[in-house]
Every structure is written in C-alpha cells, then in structure tokens.
Symmetry: C2
DNA sequence: ACATAATTCAAACAAGTGTTTGACAAGTCA
DNA sequence: TGACTTGTCAAACACTTGTTTGAATTATGT
C-alpha cells in the first residue's frame, strides 16, 4: 500500500482522479440515490477505470461517506441562518432572514443540496450521525428561532406555543424540500427556480406566520 | 389465464395469497424501500412461492403500485378527509376536519402507517408509481383543500395565494411525520402519543392557519 | 368422472451488481 | 541502474436480482 510519500506530481495525479470520483459520485448519488448509483456510471463520468473506486476508497459505501463529508460543511457556511441581520434588529426582520436563508439552503443547486437528501434518508433510518448532527447544528438553530418567536409573541421561550409556532414556521420551509416530487407533479413550475421566486416564497411564509402568531387567539392571555 | 370464473372457495384462496403478498410487501417496502426489497423476502413472509408475485401482479413494480394504492385506500377509508363533516358546514369546520384526519393518518399505528413510510421513500427516490398515485389519490385531496381555503380566504380557487396557503396548512401536518427523528430528539415527548394530544396539535395547526389566512395582508384587496 | 382452467412449486435463466485479480506502465529512492 | 511502490486498466469473478419455465396440484363446470 501507500508506504512511500509520493512526489508532488504523483500526488496531484492521484488526488485528481480521487477528486473526479468525488464529483462524479456526488452527481450520480444525487440523481439516482445510493442504491441505484452504479460504480460503472460513476467511473465513466469521472473518466476513471472501474476499479478506481475500490482502489481509492475501498468500497462504494466508503465513497458515499466521503462524498457526504465533502458536501457537509458547505451549506451553513454558504448561507448562515441570519444572513448578516444585526442582533438588535426587530424580530420580524430576523424571522424573515431565518426563513429566507433556510429556503436558500433548500433550493441551492450543486453539492450543497446534497446534504438535504442525506438528511431525508436519516429521517427514515436515523444513524448515529443524527444525534451529533442534532446537537451540533440543529439545536442551535432551533434555539435561535425560539428566541425570535418568543420575542414576536411576547411569550417565554419555553412556552409550548412558542415551540409549536416555531415548528409551524420551519415546516413550511422544509415542506418544499421534503415534498418536492409531489409539489412538482401537482403544480408544475410551482417550485422556485430563481432568486426572485425564492424571495417571493420567503415573503409568503414570513407574512403567513407573522399574521398567525400575532392574531393567534391564545397568543396573549 | 383466468378465463373461468372461480368459485367462492378458489377465489378466496387466490385472493388470500394475493392479500398475504400485499401485506408482506407493504411491510418490506416500508422497511427497506422498493429497490432493496427482494421478491424472495416478500414471498417468504407471505408464505408464498417465488413466482407468486409475477403470477398475481405481473412484476415487482406493479406489486409496488398496488401496495401504494392498497395502503392509501385503507388509510383514507379509516380516516376520510372530512370525517363526516356535512357539505354545508362552515369552511373553518372543514379545515379543522381535514387537518385532524391528516394527522390521524400520519400518527396511526399498524399497517396503515406503511403508506406514510413508503411515501416518504418516494420523496427521496420517486418511482413511476408516484405519477399515478398523485393523480388518483393526492390531487383529489388537494382540490378539496383548495376549495376549503378559497372559501375561507374569499379568493378564487386558482389564485396563487390559495395554493400557497394550502401548502402552508399541509406542511405543518406532514412535518411531524417527515421530521419525526429530529422532533423527538430535539424535544422528547413532544410528538402526540394519544388521541387527545393529536387533537391538541390539530387545534394548534387549525388556529394558526386560520389566523394567518384571515389576517394575511394580501388576503383581501 | 372428465376435460379444462387456475394456482402452486422448484428449478433454472439472463442480466446486472460490486469487487477482485494480475498484468502493465510510470514514478521514487537507494 | 534496479528493486520497489503507486496508479491504471481490461477481464473475470462471485453473487444477487427479477423473471420465466414447465410440470405438478387443485379447483371448476358439465
């Protein structure tokens, strides 16, 4: 195996096919899923030999995990939850930013969107990765949203209504991700294609939720 | 093939294995998905021969489609969309019934819940079965909801705001199904366990949505 | 009872899968 | 240079898949 350090040239060459495999695999996995993706197709797109995957990654499943690791950290880095809205901004503005950034992450094209599909798989068969992912990435965002909603509704953060309404906000965003196959078939061209229509959708969700939270019968006693 | 009408007994016997296949297939599809489900495993659980699926359904894919129809039909039969609310009832009552029955279907235990799991898998990797299922099952329910929402908002059924708000309603319901692993880890014991807590959740979603639709800035001109 | 149809069954089939092999070229370092 | 490692390649391997086959079995209608 790799006992000697390769030279810069050899390293570059090896990393090159490795990188091509990662890119091709990401595309194929995203298109047809892990099970229907064939190593032959991945290698064909990568311009590599059929044995390349087993040589560079061991097996198909390790390649899958490597692709995940590759696209994992990019989503939040590209679209931070509050998108530069100052901390002393009114909560309505923060909510709008929160919704918008979530939608941008969902509708983003390229390797970033890959993470979403994997999360969907985790919903069906959660792995150990789920627990750490919840604590490291999701809970902080949830707390952020609870804070915003509690300000808007003028209720304590641990109030049940704050949690329920926060879920109502998030659910409207992830719906377009989780139910994309249904939405596209039910109403073609309904899903946002460009930045403007994403903003339009963010507007609807924000206004819908604000109207609900401010006029909910039980919002204030 | 079947040219003669079989007697009641033979028909019962034939339908029996057919039914066993549907049940076993529903369980297996829900557990591992269409692609990873093998006809051998399904037939083994059904106590049938390996050729039974091809004999009774033609091929694996038709069986899958039949399972989707079968399970969704059972779910709708158990929890009809409007749950006996009269046609001349106020739209608010209908919305509440629509939400409640959808939640009941989502949180139902037993064979009925297969449909939800299989549908969730369809979201990740849609098969051809999805198209016919949309037209036969989902579109009628969508029309029903659009009708209700258009009455509530006093807008024509084909108005974009009606569609958006309808999605907002449905999304809050399916959220608890699609994101169950996240919700349970984020807030233990948040998910409804009994009929009373399901009603509680139905109350929140209905009130939240009604407040939103009635106070949406653009709802009425 | 008999011919016919419907159903079940074990075995085999054809196609596709991920993986392994062994040879070969190229680069590395003594 | 020459032993050694790294990377690539075509071919083949071992295995699983859904499906088909043809005979055996059971039920049906006259």
């Amino acid at each position: 195996m790799k006992l000697n350090m390769p030279t810069e040239f050899a390293e570059a060459s090896a990393d090159e096919t490795r990188h091509h495999l990662l890119d091709a695999a990401g595309a194929v996995f995203a298109e047809v899923g892990f099970r229907d993706a064939t190593v032959r197709e991945i290698c064909r797109r990568a311009g590599a030999n059929i044995a390349a995957i087993n040589y560079h990654f061991g097996d198909k499943e390790t390649l899958y995990l490597e692709v995940l690791r590759y696209s994992h950290g990019k989503a939040l880095e590209k679209y931070p939850p509050l998108m530069g809205v100052p901390a002393d901004a009114p909560p309505e503005k923060k909510l709008r930013a929160f919704v918008h950034s979530l939608l941008l992450r969902i509708f983003d094209k390229g390797p970033t969107s890959w993470h979403g599909k994997v999360m969907l798989r985790e919903m069906i068969e959660p792995t150990e990765a789920m627990d750490s992912l919840i604590e490291e990435r999701i809970r902080p965002m949830a707390s952020q949203l609870w804070q915003i909603v509690s300000e808007i509704m003028d209720l304590p953060m641990n109030d049940e209504r704050v949690r329920l309404c926060s879920f109502s906000v998030v659910s409207q965003c992830v719906f377009y991700h989780h139910c994309r196959p249904v939405v596209t078939r039910l109403i073609p061209n309904e899903l946002p294609q460009d930045a403007a229509s994403i903003e339009h959708l963010a507007d609807h969700i924000t206004k819908f939720s604000l109207a609900a939270m401010k006029h909910l019968p039980t919002a204030k006693r």
